[in-house]
């Protein structure tokens, strides 16, 4: 019952954050300011859902609570793609100027990469999941190095456009993209929600999960693809923000006593909405746009990550 109370408090907080963000100083500007703020809130909620879901699921299948799906290198791939496009086609090319084309292209590249990656690695069934993660780190570093190399060569004006893409931002989200993302994310989660009880069993470890009749290999593959697609959507929508998932997932584990994924997932989703909308409010009202949300997220997330590492090493 206590978990239910906590959940209600969090939902209240999330609604309050959204309310304040939408209506503060609106001054009757219902046709202009409200729809614009509405789209931003909508984008933040979607990003929050995607990142939180992907991270919790990813941590369950890897049995590790300080990993994020960014370890698969999707963030770096996104940056590489943007850099390549601007470097070779120029910042006025349709793939950069047209948000929709860029969005679809980014998702397609990331998802295809993830699928190819898994396909290659899962060909031999006995490879441990950590092998996959290590290859992911190597790919990520490789993409990152090429990106840096190209950025050093590029025209400074073009570089400022790349720099814009390097940090997640909700300030100019395209409303059509939000609708497209909504549809994809809803479909994915509607499909994945049924697996929650199997994910609960997965927390007991591979051997116990197999003993209890969970089709371990199949569910791990499904969930890896799911989290890759969710990350791809969130990244294409607002930019690289995966680190954020680490914070909300761990806050959710700390906050709720339950081991059930239905609770943990919902909790982390609500926490991420509070953090994103609240954080964006801080960026706009306190820092008056002098910084971006992802700078704040990386700052707080980094501190929290160090805290988690220290805590884990002490408990061993």
């Amino acid at each position: 019952m206590r978990d239910l109370h906590k959940m209600l408090i969090l939902v209240g907080l999330a609604l309050a954050a959204c309310g304040v963000y939408l209506f503060q100083d609106l001054n009757g500007s219902f046709d202009y300011a409200l729809p614009r703020r509405g789209i931003k809130v909508f984008a933040m909620v979607l990003t929050g859902v995607a990142i939180a879901y992907a991270t919790v699921v990813f941590q369950t299948i890897t049995h590790n609570r300080i990993l994020t799906p960014s370890i698969m290198g999707l963030d770096s791939l996104y940056m590489l793609l943007q850099t390549l496009l601007i470097f070779f086609l120029g910042s006025d090319h349709i793939t950069i100027v047209n948000k929709q084309v860029n969005f679809m292209l980014s998702i397609a590249v990331m998802v295809i990469f993830a699928l190819l990656f898994y396909r290659l690695l899962f060909k031999k069934n006995d490879r441990p999941i950590y092998f996959l993660l290590l290859v992911g780190i190597i790919c990520g570093t490789f993409f990152g190095s090429i990106t840096t190399f190209l950025q050093v060569l590029i025209d400074p004006n073009e570089f400022s456009i790349i720099q814009d893409r390097m940090f997640a931002s909700f300030n100019n989200v395209n409303s059509d993209l939000v609708w497209t993302s909504l549809v994809i994310i809803t479909l994915l989660i509607a499909f994945a929600w049924k697996q929650n009880s199997s994910l609960d069993v997965l927390t007991l470890g591979r051997d116990t999960a197999i003993n209890l009749g969970v089709n371990y290999d199949a569910i791990v593959k499904q969930m890896l693809v799911l989290s890759a697609v969710l990350i791809a959507i969130a990244t294409a929508l607002v930019g690289p923000i995966t680190f954020f998932g680490l914070i909300v997932a761990n806050l959710s584990y700390q906050f709720f006593t339950s081991y059930k994924h239905s609770v943990l997932l919902t909790g982390s989703i609500v926490i991420s909405v509070v953090a994103l909308v609240g954080g964006q409010w801080v960026v706009e009202r306190i820092f008056t746009f002098n910084t971006t949300l992802s700078v704040i997220i990386n700052f707080i997330g980094g501190i929290y990550f160090i805290y988690l590492l220290l805590k884990e090493s002490r408990s061993k």
């Binding site: 049995h63 609570r65 069934n125 006995d126 929650n196 009880s197 199997s198 609960d200 069993v201 927390t203 007991l204 470890g205 591979r206 051997d207 116990t208 197999i210 003993n211 209890l212 009749g213 969970v214 089709n215 006593t257 081991y259």
Partner: protein, 253 residues
């Protein structure tokens, strides 16, 4: 009956289990014994589908295990491994409830709850059912995991060194419970053991492995003989009859 047919497992080029065929009879305790690295745990993992065999097959009541769905398998055979590290904090009751997963998929009905209650009572964990596993001693935790396996309600129960890290009192307690599972509830228990005296006192049949092969397979009386043990362990082990138990005095041999 579980029929193991010509199972082989390779790690690289090394054969850890080599062409092993064994029959495990219903309603008995069968112990796997043998020196370290003999392939006992690997064999058990292959029988319980935690590990894929390279060649060979396992039949359960004459059905090939490859043809069984994972969920159906988990209603007939349960396996408990030695290390049970988990990421979450669970109470005993929550853990035991997981044993009903093959039947209820996480939504327990009245019958499941009854089964969970019975298992907890059976393992004498009633008064601590709401304690968290990380607050328990090794023996209590082991009992909690066995309670989960009992709640799973399978005909066959496989255990990989369940006495590891337990003191004498708890080891005896666990073995007595396994004996009762066989005698009272008609279960079939397969167990990997290191201490041959526990194997001698509690099992009906013993399968001895060495270097990945079955070297002896027979009733306890046939295996607990100095000559047979010499072949298995390369040690001269005198055997003493005490009351009804045949005790191997290997400490100074």
């Amino acid at each position: 009956m579980i029929q193991v047919r010509e199972l082989t497992k390779l790690y690289g080029k090394k054969q850890v289990v080599e062409n092993v065929s064994v029959d495990i009879r219903r309603g008995q305790i069968t112990s796997f014994i043998g020196p370290n690295g003999a392939g006992k745990s690997t064999l058990l993992s292959m029988v319980s589908r935690l590990l894929d065999a390279d060649t060979g097959e396992v039949l359960i009541d004459s059905t090939n295990t490859k043809k069984l769905k994972s969920n159906d398998f988990s209603k007939r055979v349960s396996i408990l491994k030695q290390s049970n590290y988990m990421n979450v904090r669970l109470t005993i009751r929550e853990l035991v409830s997981f044993g009903r997963f093959p039947y209820s998929k996480g939504r327990l009905n009245d019958e499941d709850e009854k089964m969970v209650d019975q298992s907890i009572d059976y393992m004498d964990l009633k008064e601590m059912e709401n304690s968290y596993l990380d607050e328990l001693s090794g023996g209590q935790r082991q009992r909690a995991f066995i309670a989960m396996v009992i709640a799973q309600d399978t005909d066959y129960i496989l255990l990989d060194e369940p006495l590891n890290n337990l003191d004498m009192k708890h080891s005896v307690q666990i073995m007595k419970i396994l004996r009762r599972l066989v005698d009272d509830l008609g279960k079939t228990v397969v167990i990997v053991l290191h201490d041959i005296n526990f194997a001698s006192v509690y099992s009906d049949r013993i399968v001895a492995l060495k270097n990945g092969r079955v070297v002896k397979d027979g009733t306890t009386e046939e295996i607990i003989q100095s000559a047979a043990l010499k072949e298995i362990y390369d040690m001269d082990i005198p055997i003493q009859q005490m009351n009804d138990c045949r005790i191997c005095v290997y400490f100074n041999s």
